[in-house]
């Protein structure tokens, strides 16, 4: 069924385009550009059924605004079809769930439950280094802004590998009577992290900000970007941009999985690369 809809929709796309579009011998077939989900904003609008095939916005009073069939058509083309990990059944379940008439699920740009993962390149001592930065949207002043929520820096990780064995280093319980003079040996011979409490969790973002302000690292460029969504209860999905020829291009769902509420923190930790 979904497959049939998808084909119908693709066939429909060119016929819905303005008449002046021509397929240039040297360029791109313009209907491919119409089919492409060109902005994340367009992903939102298509997901929610808030625009027509030419990208013109529907408003709340428009008949087709958030129309179930329109949404189903759009959702079918919002998947990266080259990803075999997402089965047809799973897609079908997802599409039926988010377009259900009783409890439809929409994406909301301004609400919590989605964030950006930016793969940026920084320079450390003349050498390039990849750093993952996670941003979320928050209300600020008269509008909104993207704010840094987490950072994942490979270089920091080794400093926080804690020895969990039975013969791990420790600061003995009577050290206080000697004014902790034994720190001299402790810090010389072991990693500081071995002396932290069991519930200690490193905060890479703080270290990153410290290094940035001390010019230990400097921004060079952005390499890649993706978005993670937890806004549809019961589901996690991820979108990435595909720059390729054909109709299946632009911002598309690159990963999808059903998820229980209690599993979300573990998955987020995995995404932030900070278990």
């Amino acid at each position: 069924m979904i497959h049939r809809l998808f084909i119908t929709f693709l066939i429909l796309i060119p016929s819905l385009l303005p008449a002046q579009i021509t397929q240039e011998a040297t360029g791109i077939d313009e209907s491919e550009l119409y089919a492409s989900t060109k902005q994340v904003n367009q992903f939102f609008r298509r997901f929610n059924g808030e625009e027509d095939q030419k990208g013109n916005r529907y408003y709340e009073n428009d008949k087709s605004y958030r129309d179930v069939e329109l949404r189903k058509n759009y959702l079918t083309i919002l998947f990266n079809t080259e990803n075999n990990r997402i089965s047809k059944d799973l897609k079908k379940q997802f599409i039926n769930d988010v377009t259900s008439r009783q409890n439809p699920k929409y994406l909301n740009f301004h609400k919590e439950g989605w964030f950006a993962e930016v793969n940026a390149v920084f320079s450390r001592g003349g050498k390039d280094e990849n750093i993952l930065l996670f941003f979320k949207i928050q209300p600020q002043g008269q509008g909104y802004e993207w704010v840094l929520e987490k950072a994942s820096v490979e270089a920091y990780k080794s400093s926080f590998n804690k020895d969990s064995s039975s013969n791990k280093s420790f600061i003995h319980p009577m050290s206080h009577e000697l004014d902790f003079m034994n720190l001299n040996k402790a810090f010389r011979n072991s990693k500081g992290v071995d002396f932290t409490a069991r519930n200690f969790k490193p905060d890479y973002l703080s270290i990153f900000l410290y290094e940035l302000s001390n010019k230990k690292i400097s921004f060079k460029t952005v390499r890649d970007l993706k978005f993670h969504f937890f806004q549809c209860a019961g589901w996690y999905f991820q979108i990435s941009e595909y720059n390729r020829s054909g109709y299946n291009r632009g911002w598309l769902i690159s990963d999808l999985t059903p998820i229980k509420e209690e599993q979300i923190p573990a998955l987020k930790a995995l995404i932030y690369d900070q278990q």
Partner: protein, 196 residues
């Protein structure tokens, strides 16, 4: 850049003042869909103007003085410090250029013939309010470039251009009359080479 227009206006003998005040009381929800569309079209026209200016600047037939004048006009469309972030199919990483530098490079391109075409397609995002009350949006357009050198060799590419637009309601007094207008400025532009 903006000051050029302002300077011109101030020359008018009867222009007594030019007050630019952001009308902060303007709530997003007060704008009807029809007005939103008019504002979208206004933003899109600025992008089309830029497209046209780029074509003129890049055209080898354009006289130097004319290209310089148009470059200045194109520059007036942008907010200060606007940058172009360019990536190609081979290098995904973004290389940064100042907008003026980009125009200069375009004018100095070492081709005998340059052909710049724009696809009819465009996409206009929603306008979102920033913390300072200005609206910000992104207009996406596609450009086809073809440069041919004297020996007949040609370079072709198609690029997607995601153009930042800032929209702000301003007030000005000209000829004793208060005009509330929508100030549209272009900002950073992300240029991605796309697969044909």
């Amino acid at each position: 850049m903006k000051s050029i227009i302002i300077k011109n206006l101030s020359k008018i003998s009867f222009v007594a003042s030019l007050l630019c005040v952001a009308a902060s009381a303007f709530a997003q929800d007060n704008i009807s869909p029809q007005r939103k569309q008019a504002i979208d079209s206004l933003a899109l026209e600025k992008v089309r103007d830029l497209s046209k200016y780029i074509s003129i600047i890049g055209d080898k037939e354009t006289a130097y003085s004319e290209a310089t004048r148009v470059m200045e006009r194109a520059g007036e469309l942008f907010a200060p410090d606007s940058e172009m972030g360019v990536s190609s199919l081979t290098t995904e990483e973004i290389t940064y250029y100042k907008v003026q530098e980009y125009f200069q490079r375009l004018m100095a391109l070492n081709y005998d013939k340059v052909k710049i075409d724009w696809y009819d397609i465009h996409y206009i995002s929603d306008l979102e309010k920033q913390p300072d009350g200005k609206y910000v949006g992104v207009v996406t357009v596609y450009q086809r470039f073809e440069g041919t050198s004297e020996d007949g060799l040609s370079y072709k590419d198609t690029t997607k251009k995601d153009i930042t637009i800032y929209v702000e309601k301003k007030k000005t007094q000209i000829a004793g009359r208060t005009i509330e207008f929508w100030d549209v400025m272009l900002g950073d532009i992300r240029v991605t080479e796309t697969s044909a």
